[in-house]
Symmetry: C2
Subunit: 342 residues, 2 copies
């Protein structure tokens, strides 16, 4: 079985975006604000949006199951207040849940949280618990910068975030550390802000002792860990200067990297430098980079090809990257698969 | 000849830091503000600080000439106003100049600029010109985020920066794009902010057409280009979606990467992915990562070893990385060497 741990519902029916635009318009003109019930998307529309997009690509490329969360760039936690984020998160999570019920063999949910700049993260707990308990979601996306590129919340190692971590540990779910749209003109969303956030999150963990307080907490750092694997020597050296343990002991029981790196040399480096137990297959397909690489004739985000081709992994290693690591990092996913005899 | 294009005066005599601390104290208490003439560092002190540090390591490792600029983390452009930055830059640049006159075979200067948040960059031009014309400096360090981690200036592609670019082109000097200390708690200075800035700068150039306005403008992106080479497929794909030319045509006539990547797999990736003509040898020795790598028994920042060992470069390629690329990117360096018959 091939599990893709990083998929977003980037292809939701257009009416979702229209509703969101009305919600945003309602911030200035309350008369324009839509009701939740104004959004009606049929099962057929959901099926169509998946069958012709993600599911088609999964069948073509040969992956089986995608951990599926709301579109990352649309989370836009910087817009409005907690109530706005809460309504929006609830709608987006429910759509991912419906996709997971329409295609139970191919999609399982991960939640976006109703984060809002400057608001206590514990306000996110009801939505988190609803998604886990009612929707069977197996993870969350945690945004370390709900300001959208201004970085005004404390680092992930700060007690500010502990209410979320306590619930993650209680429910045995990992968090993918994933920012959303940048509204800082310096940072292109998918070309700078996403990668910077990955590197930043890794370093926030490196300088702290968060995993001493939460030994079973698990973070998935997407996009191949940002700059971390490429600069692994730098990070090993910085940890040494900071008198931290070796990275494998300090961080690698708790931090995992996905394979959303869109060329062969990048995947070769990732699999050379990072222990195989810390690498989870992912493609973020139909995401940031949707085109075909003229150098290979294949989609940039068809990362399965790179993982299959790298000389750094044995067949047993590949089985870990494609399946068993995800089942270990997402225990609720494993339980759901086991319940189906898989 | 082996030219290291990225060295900072991290080992300046302690009295420099003391003076700076008094300058900072003077922001709140003008009576505590020091005069420039209060700082007196003798040639012997300068010699001592170099001979036992950078020069010793250069001799041990076998590099010949370092392009030497003031300590990056101490630039701290966010402190005080333009006048404060101006005085500080003037002092720091003069020290690098004095080092270059004491050790003319081994050091040649690059300038820090007296940038200040929200201040028009053209205010930096007198210091820039003084350093080039009086000190024989061959490049500048340009800080894309003088706020120190809050990213409040426009992107590097904005006309805001054009006065600097016009002078760079006029004097035929490149800029290393280099931030300074982060005063945003989210970003560790050398573990996150530096690498993020590299990635951000690269993407700012990718989304724009800056080099159409300045075809001969040259940027050196340090620390191996941040995350750019590791995610080269992502950047190629993003450029394609943005209808930009191929990266080699869009950016690689103007953007160069240094080799400050502190492990062999990172240098292997850099030299595999980036055309050899765009790679300049550098170590940033006695900088962010000063320790010995327990996996190799050698200094993390002894990057010459990685460049020497990588299977991706021929001897002719290595000659480019070690010498001729730097002479091409820094024409005033080449002229200075030619004038000495080198």
């Amino acid at each position: 079985m091939i599990i893709d741990c990083h998929g977003h519902y980037t292809t939701a029916p257009r009416s979702l975006e229209d509703w969101r635009n009305r919600q945003i318009a309602g911030l200035k003109d309350p008369a324009a604000a839509p009701k939740v019930s104004d959004l009606a998307i049929s099962d057929d529309e959901l099926r169509e949006s998946i069958v012709t997009n993600q599911l088609q690509k999964m069948l073509e490329r040969g992956s089986d199951l995608t951990i599926f969360s709301p579109r990352a760039s649309f989370m836009a936690h910087h817009i409005g207040d907690f109530k706005v984020s809460s309504t929006w998160a609830s709608i987006c999570n429910e759509l991912c849940y419906r996709v997971s019920t329409l295609f139970p063999d191919n999609f399982i949910g991960a939640a976006m949280l109703p984060q809002s700049p400057g608001v206590d993260p514990k306000t996110c707990i009801p939505e988190l618990e609803r998604c886990v308990e009612e929707y069977g979601f197996v993870g969350i996306n945690l945004n370390p910068d709900p300001s959208g590129g201004h970085w005004r919340e404390p680092p992930l190692s700060d007690r500010h975030w502990y209410p979320i971590y306590e619930k993650m540990v209680e429910h045995d779910i990992p968090a993918m550390i994933h920012v959303s749209t940048s509204c800082n003109a310096c940072f292109h969303t998918t070309g700078a802000h996403y990668l910077n956030a990955d590197t930043t999150a890794f370093m926030q963990c490196l300088t702290a002792d968060l995993f001493r307080d939460f030994p079973t907490l698990k973070f998935v750092i997407p996009h191949g860990g940002g700059a971390a694997p490429y600069h692994w020597g730098r990070f090993r050296g910085l940890a040494q200067e900071l008198k931290k343990p070796l990275l494998k002991d300090h961080l690698l029981n708790n931090i995992f990297f996905d394979t959303c790196v869109y060329h062969q040399p990048g995947i070769d480096l990732l699999t050379k430098v990072i222990p195989v137990d810390n690498i989870l297959f992912a493609s973020e397909m139909i995401g940031a980079v949707r085109g075909i690489d003229p150098e290979t004739g294949h989609y940039f985000d068809d990362t399965k090809r790179y993982v299959a081709a790298t000389p750094n992994l044995s067949d047993a290693d590949r089985h870990k990257v494609f399946e068993t690591n995800a089942r270990r990092v997402y225990p609720r996913l494993d339980a759901a698969l086991c319940a189906r005899g898989l």
